[in-house]
Amino acid sequence: MPEIEEDILERIDALALNITENRQKGLLVLYYPEEDGEVVIDDISDIDDELRRCFGASKVDEIDILIHTNGGSPDAAYRIVQHIRSIANNVYILVPFHAYSAGTLICFGTDKILLGTFAALSPIDIKLKTENDNSDEIEENDNDDEIELIAIDKYIEFVKYCKKIIEDAGMKTNLEDALLVEMVKQIGAINIGSFFRERELTKYYAEILLSDYMLKDIPDKEKIIDYIIEMMVFKFPSHEFEIDYNIAKRLKLVVENMPIDLSDKTKSLIKLLEEAMENGLICRYMGNRYRLPFFRLYNIREE
């Protein structure tokens, strides 16, 4: 391996260990490439390997997770954070840039979210890729076969709005039939069914994580959890909607801004990981459309 490339990995380790030393707790780095990286069920066993390598069979009092992801499977996100919770009593999550979607769901299972400067979470609305048997062959326009559930909700609102306008003008209409048939034709009845099923599951996961971890000691937590889920799963306008510190605080999530020094260090770490990826040192492709994540647990030395 050329020396300059090897140096990137050393710089990653040195910076991560520096963060570990400053925070005085282990740091589990979960970095998912922005292009073709996603949270999947297979991640759990690799994360478990790392936890066992450092902690063996013992539990630890606290741990930091540093996460960078555009999202992925809600089932995987739920199980990853539950697994980490089975090993660490207190879990803090550092988000230097963003933890979208399934990443936000992982945040719900921690005790506190620490956001870097201008870092963001996102709604955990469902976005499904429609089935395509030749998916590996499609390299371009691959967003064309993705649909957000919120888009369906908004379309249904639009149908109701159209009907109301016509009826308010004193006319009768069955316009909604044609519009809804067109939607089912475009998306597929089975896909619509699985959208709603996935959303119910995600809602269920979010309830469990918020109730058992992030908001476990908050009196009257049920009301707050209902509000958070209503906003995060049903109400926010788009999957790409950015939930910054101020919105997260309004939602009553347990969130803090990182001190500037920590924010800078965690952002630098993500940039180094991106550099290492661009140099082909980490996050190899498996197939055409899936890229491996980078996982590594940096531990403090036992006294």
């Binding site: 990995l9 069920i41 690799d46 790392e50 980078f294």
Partner: protein
């Protein structure tokens, strides 16, 4: 503090790659998600 081990990070990432390859091989080239979906369609 844990000592910097030059090769460890590289080794961990290699292991992740090997683990995934092994799993994919065992599943006949499919992801776990694909197999779960396939199995679910057969439930009666």
């Amino acid at each position: 503090m844990e000592e910097i081990n030059k090769r460890l990070t590289e080794k961990i990432q290699d292991n992740i790659y090997k683990n995934r390859l092994e799993k994919i091989k065992l599943r006949g080239g499919k992801s776990r998600e694909e197999l779960i979906k396939k199995a679910n369609t057969k439930i009666i």
